[in-house]
Structure formats: C-alpha cells, structure tokens
C-alpha cells in the first residue's frame, strides 16, 4: 500500500466516524466540533488528490468562517442538550430507516453494476490541475460566465441579508 492510500483510508475512516458523531451527539457545540473535524478530513482528502487550493479553501471558508459563525450562534443562544426533544420509536423513524436502507441498496447496486462509467480523462491531466494558477486561469478564461453569475448570486444574497437585518425601509 502506498502512503497515499494509507492516508486515504485513515482520513475517510475519521471523516465517516465524525460525520456519524455530528448527528448522534446531543450537545450542539460538540456536534459542530465534529463537523469541523469532518471538514479537516475532507481537506486532507483533497490534498491527497493534489488539489491544494481546494483543500485550503475548504479550511478557510468552511472550518474558518462558516463554522465559526455556527459556533458563535450556538453559543449566543446558549443552546442546551437536546435530551428533552428525544422521542421513542415512532412511525416516522421506521419509515426513515426503511427509505435510507432502500437508498443504500440502490447506491450499492448502481456502483456494483457500474451503471455510471467515470471518464478516464479526469486522472490524466497531471498534478498541476489543483494549483492556484491553473484554477485562476480556468476561472477567468473558460468559465468566466458561470464565475460572474455566481458572484451576482452572492451579491444578491448579501443585499438580501442586509435588507432582512435592517428592518427599517
């Protein structure tokens, strides 16, 4: 086994375990912390794929900005444990488990019968595909229109947030 595959297995194991802990922990802050751990594992996985830029952006944007805001809000509201909300086995849970099991079998079936064949060309583009220079060049040449549309979308979201927060018209 190469170093990369060892890293891949360790990182994915931690990522799956932390993702499970996010939904099973009672305390919201602890859940948020496991989500941060999960983001770090994802960043590590990106690094093993030579996508350094995406790895760092994953940490800056998700772990460093969005999760800080999440933790901030949870702390500000001082949310306690969710123990009071817990309920016993209800019909909702049974249906949810059934649907999840159906989805899992479908996924396994699709992957096993290789319904979707991944294009082989994605691997052969060399190791510089994840660098900042390459991504910047692609964004401002081949993908300029989607890039600009995304920024307009973000601008609309910012204006909307300010309008909602201001309350005086």
């Amino acid at each position: 086994m190469t170093l990369e595959s060892i890293l891949f297995y360790i990182l994915s194991a931690v990522a799956i375990a932390s993702a499970l802990l996010v939904v099973t922990r009672r305390s919201p802050v602890i859940s948020a912390l496991y989500l941060i751990l999960n983001f770090f594992c994802l960043a590590g996985l990106y690094l093993t794929l030579h996508a350094q830029f995406i790895a760092v952006i994953q940490i800056i944007v998700y772990a460093g900005a969005i999760m800080v805001l999440f933790v901030f809000v949870i702390m500000l509201l001082n949310l306690g444990d969710e123990r009071k909300l817990s309920e016993g086995m209800s019909y909702k849970k049974v249906i949810a488990v059934g649907l999840a099991a159906a989805l899992l079998t479908e996924l396994i079936y699709i992957i096993e019968t290789s319904w979707i064949v991944l294009p082989a060309s994605t691997v052969s583009q060399g190791t510089d595909i994840g660098t900042v220079e390459y991504i910047g060049l692609q964004l401002f040449t081949g993908y300029l229109f989607p890039f600009e549309v995304t920024s307009i979308l973000l601008l609309v979201a910012i204006v909307g947030a300010i309008v909602l927060a201001k309350r005086k018209y």
């Binding site: 802050v29 941060i36 800056i60 772990a63 900005a65 800080v68 805001l69 901030f72 702390m75 660098t131």
Partner: protein, 344 residues
C-alpha cells in the same frame, strides 16, 4: 536525511519561538514599567532577567482548577488547540535564505509549500477556536462573553487581513513566501529597497491593524478586557493551562511580526549587502540576524502600542473593521491592479 533536516529545523524554530515568548513576557513587563514610571521585575537574577523562568515554575506548580459545571474535555482541549495553531503557523515563514552546512544546502524554512500565504490565512482563521471553546467550556458568563467577542472580532478582521495580503500577492505574483522575499531584494530607482512597505503602504497599514486584532493585543484586547470581563475567555483557567494561553498569545505575536517582516519589510534581505563581498556563510548568518532584528523591532512596536493606546469600545471596533479597514483594503486592491496594468 531530509527528515532529519526537517526535524532539526522544527526543533530550532519551536525552541526559538518559546524562548522568544519568554523574553517577550519579560520585556513587556519591563517596558510597561518604564512607561508607567515604575521599575518592574528586578529581584530574580541580574536585573530581573530570570523572572520568566520563575514565572513558568510558578505556573507549573499551581493547582489545575476546572469549574464544576465545565465541559472537562473541551476545557482541556482549548489551550492545546491555541498553542498548537500558534506554533504551526511559523512552518511556512522563511527566516533566512539558503545556508551551506556540512556540504548540504539547507533552505531556512520548515515547509516550502506553493500555497504558503493561503496556509497562513487558513491557520489564522481556525485559530479562533481555542479562545471560543475556552470561553464556552468554562460555563461562566465572563468567559462566554470573551469567547463571543473573540469570534466576532476575528471574523471581522480576517477579511481585511486576507484582502491586504492580496495586494502583496499581486505585486509579487506568487503565493510562495520565499519568492515574496526574493522579490523584495530588488531596488526601486537604484537606491530604494523594493520592500512592500513602500510598494503597498495602505496594505501595510491594514495588515498591521488586522494582525493586532488577530493577536488580541491592545487596543483590540476585548476578548480578555480585564476591567469588564475579569480575564475574559481565560477567567476559569489556572496553572499551566492558563500558561499555555499566555504562551500562545506571545507566540502569535512573534509569528505575526515575522509575517509582517516577510510580507512588507523585506524578510531576511539586507539592502546593499551584496556589494560587501562577504563569504556565503557569513552572508547567510547575517541574513538570519537581519530577520531577527526586524521581527524584534516590530515586536517592540507591539509592546509600545499596548501601553500607549486605550482599548476600543465594542462598536468602535466593529466600525473600524467593517467601515474603515475593509473598504481601504478593497480600494488598495483596485489601486494596485490599476497601477500594475498601467505600468506593464
């Protein structure tokens, strides 16, 4: 062999950071004493120079008190997070050019990665968790307020910090910190060193202010503000766990001074030293010395500012961050872009 080399560099850098932090604590107390017309620590060792060692011994011997209703695990985790992130940031900062030792050319930085600046931004953005978690896990109102303030403050100033770095990136055309330093060894009009402080004066000011805010130093020390919050986020900490917060504050100060030096003050470069025809080894050592001197000057500035300027009020802090620093940083990017376009 590379591993051994990396190991030695890590040991040296961490040792230098921790020793530097101890020296800084002593100098801070001494300089503050002179500014306030006192004498300062002068009992332990010659002129009080052994005071930091006594302080550390005291902290280690003290009892570790954890509040009854605190979350034990996170209460322990928070100082560890703080200090490890503070120490990790230094990994990509070049503290010298190359040096010839035992027939090997050693590059004087721990990790030579091509996204050095983004690495630093990523670490400073997660650096807030140490303080925030310390505030939350203590289960005390003062700590919680300190933690909340710190996360709001860091989110606000991270933006102008990142945006002021972009100006430097545009001028140097790279994200590698060693290349940024090499870029600053040139001269403008043949006599002025092309340091980014001359090329990016606005970026320098916004970065400086943002790094004061990121290290929680006065006038931005609202997360710990003694008069209102007892001790802020570390109110409920004692013994060496408190000591780790203290240490990481000073380690952060050293790292951000090193960053200011690297990005804006020419890093390890010595202007006009190439005309002196020194041997390569002397030159390398002098360059390391030049880096240390520059970092020291910035650190002295940190200390003098702390004991000169009063703390901001919370709304002033937010106004400065969002309404002054952020527009300034954006204007700087536009101006830099325009100038680069006009000159090329």
């Amino acid at each position: 062999m590379d591993l051994i080399e990396a190991f030695f560099k890590i040991v040296i850098v961490i040792g230098a950071l921790i020793t530097g932090a101890a020296v800084m604590v002593f100098l801070e107390r001494k300089i503050s004493a002179y500014i306030q017309n006192r004498i300062g620590p002068n009992r332990v060792g010659p002129r009080g120079w052994l005071q930091p060692i006594v302080d550390v011994v005291k902290l280690v011997m003290k009892e570790d008190i954890v509040p009854k209703s605190a979350n034990r695990f996170i209460h322990d985790l928070a100082p560890i997070l703080s200090i490890s992130i503070a120490l990790c940031t230094f990994a990509v900062i070049p503290f010298g050019n190359t040096i010839e030792l035992f027939g090997r050319t050693v590059k004087l930085m721990i990790a030579d990665v091509n996204i050095g600046m983004l690495y630093i931004l990523a670490l400073t953005s997660v650096g807030v968790y140490g303080i925030t978690l310390a505030g939350w896990s203590s289960n005390s109102k003062y700590s919680l307020l300190g933690g909340l303030r710190s996360s709001a403050q860091l989110i606000s100033y991270e933006l102008s910090m990142g945006l002021s770095i972009i100006g430097v990136i545009m001028v140097a055309g790279t994200l590698r910190l060693d290349q940024v330093v090499v870029h600053q060894t040139r001269y403008l009009w043949g006599w002025l060193p092309a340091w980014n402080i001359f090329l990016q004066p606005v970026g320098f000011i916004t970065f400086m202010v943002a790094s004061f805010a990121e290290t929680n130093r006065l006038p931005f020390d609202l997360p710990e503000a003694e008069p209102e919050l007892v001790g802020g986020y570390h109110t409920e900490y004692s013994g060496m766990k408190f000591g780790l917060f203290f240490l990481s504050e000073y380690a952060n100060m050293i790292t951000s001074s090193a960053l200011i030096t690297t990005l804006f003050l020419g890093g390890w470069s010595i202007p006009f030293a190439e005309n002196l025809a020194l041997s390569p080894l002397t030159m390398s050592l002098l360059q390391v010395g030049s880096f240390v001197v520059k970092v020291f000057v910035v650190l002295m500035f940190y200390i003098v500012v702390r004991w000169t300027i009063p703390r901001f009020r919370y709304d002033q802090l937010m106004n400065l961050g969002w309404k002054v620093m952020l527009p300034l940083a954006i204007a700087n990017i536009l101006l830099t872009g325009g100038l680069l376009l006009a000159l090329n």
